[in-house]
């Protein structure tokens, strides 16, 4: 509850802030709080990822981008009414959807009765890997993980193509490539 309150406070801060440096730093704090929430929910590996990616790498990347652009957000040109309506409607729909979810951590819900018992019972015998998350991720659901790795690969290649491609050749007798 404390964590969620802090999250809400930081979100309001991010919305109201116009200085982008402060927004980036607040985003890092948001990620750390989110990681704490994940630890409370017993998802330690997600928390590790959130802390390393959200608070670490993306904050550094954002700061690098701020180095290249302005650090002050410009005034919005349109009234924020339509975006506000869309955000509130989506949020309300999501909250409405949670009413149908079973209580958190209940053992006899469909999600815990489908294939999860099979994994929990047979993972150690079939794969000799004690961590069921690892065995499901890499072995039982290997295709999904291969797809995820391919997504990261695609994203990386796309960013590299956008940012690293040949820049404009300088006019002159010696045309040399810049950027390598």
């Amino acid at each position: 509850m404390v964590l969620l309150t802090l999250l809400a406070a930081i979100t309001i801060g991010i919305i109201r802030m116009r200085n982008l440096f402060a927004v980036v730093v607040l985003g890092g704090i948001y990620s750390f709080l989110m990681a704490s929430v994940m630890i409370v929910l017993d998802a330690v590996d997600v928390a590790m990822t959130e802390a390393a990616v959200g608070a670490g790498i993306s904050t550094v990347l954002m700061l690098g981008v701020l180095h290249l652009t302005k650090t002050q957000e410009s005034k919005p040109k349109h009234t924020p009414l339509l975006p506000l309506f869309v955000a509130v409607a989506t949020g309300a729909a999501l909250v409405f959807g949670t009413f149908d979810l079973p209580p958190f951590g209940l053992a006899d819900t469909p999600v815990n009765l489908h294939v999860a018992p099979y994994y929990l019972e047979n993972s150690l015998r079939e794969t000799l890997v004690a961590n069921v998350v690892s065995s499901v991720l890499a072995s039982y659901r290997g295709f999904d993980t291969l797809g995820e790795t391919a997504v990261i690969f695609t994203a990386g290649i796309a960013v590299l193509l956008l940012l690293k491609g040949k820049r404009k050749l300088k006019p002159g007798p010696k045309r040399r490539r810049i950027g390598r």
Partner: protein, 138 residues
């Protein structure tokens, strides 16, 4: 980047611990939380930390951008390649059972190899993107 001596000394103490923790998360992922993605992100964060403290050029000497760019497809190649090996040995694609005499051991080796592929792709991608952003516009 000439910074305080405290940063440099502190970074030198922290960096090996970060790398060790990344490797621990990678290879202990069979028993504790973690795996290829987390370890890849951590090792990439280590390289980025080094680059922030000691400067981009120094970091690129230690970890050349070319290597990071090769790692991006190499990890997917390792992952898919393990699947193909399983297929060549007479099982379904991405079934690791024939990798060892005992099917369960095969699964264990397969999971290790696949996680290594994820590590390679993730850390390569993160570092390559970081180098891209930092190498621009000065």
């Amino acid at each position: 980047m000439r910074l305080d001596v405290i940063f440099r000394v502190g970074a030198k103490i922290l960096l090996p611990i970060m790398l060790l923790f990344a490797l621990y998360v990678q290879f202990h992922g069979d028993f504790g939380p973690g795996g290829g993605f987390q370890a890849g992100v951590m090792s990439a964060a280590m390289v980025i930390f080094y680059a922030i403290i000691f400067g981009l050029e120094t970091a690129q000497k230690v970890f050349p951008p070319r290597l990071a760019e090769i790692m991006v497809p190499a990890g997917v190649g390792i992952f898919a390649g393990v699947g193909v090996i399983g297929m060549l040995l007479g099982e379904n694609y991405l079934n690791y059972s024939p990798l060892a005499d005992d099917p369960a051991h095969g699964q264990e080796y397969g999971i290790l190899l696949v996680e290594f592929g994820v590590l390679v792709t993730v850390s390569g991608t993160m570092v390559a993107i970081f180098y891209c952003f930092m190498g621009r516009g000065r």
